[in-house]
Amino acid sequence: MRFLPYVVAAWLLLVGLYGIVTSRNLVHAIICLSVAQSSTYILLLSVGFRRGGTAPIFLDVPVGTRAVDPVVGALTLTDIVVGATVSALLLALAVQAHKHHGTLDPERLKPERD
């Protein structure tokens, strides 16, 4: 139990990379990339978690109650939104690749030699 989150994070990273390496469709590879990105969120939040702590919002609890680390939460929440937008950019690239080559298969998208 002491290392379960870290094992899950490492597993998700490797599974995402496996999906990208053995992918037959560019859109499938992009979604596997987002899975690999989510492993970093899990790692960040595991580092900052305190057992028995509450959320770092002090609107209704007095200042000084045990709370989890706010810094890793701040890092992760912007990361999630930006990661989705970069995935959108990759999807636009995939659409353009299909427009020019007629296929989404990375095996058949070799650079043209002429």
């Binding site: 469709n25 859109v27 992009i30 939040l45 919002i57 995935s87 659409v95």
Partner: protein, 87 residues
Amino acid sequence: MIVLEVTVFLLVAAAGTAVVLTRNPVNQAIVASFYGLVLGIMFLVYQAPDVALSQITVGAVALPLMILLALAKVRALEGSRRRDDDR
């Protein structure tokens, strides 16, 4: 509480594996939406409500939407290309 945490972690690992093993992108978009929801639940167990809100809106709504729109565009291109070849 420990049981809840262990269950959520194992569910996240299983959902992530399912996303990768689904090869068809249309099905994968739905599984990715479910994975986003499970991640949001895990962030709630981590006592990080900001992050959970962000993950649920983005990972369960915006990302599958963009995937499906890109796939619709690719399908429309294929359809028009096939129609031009028949013409």
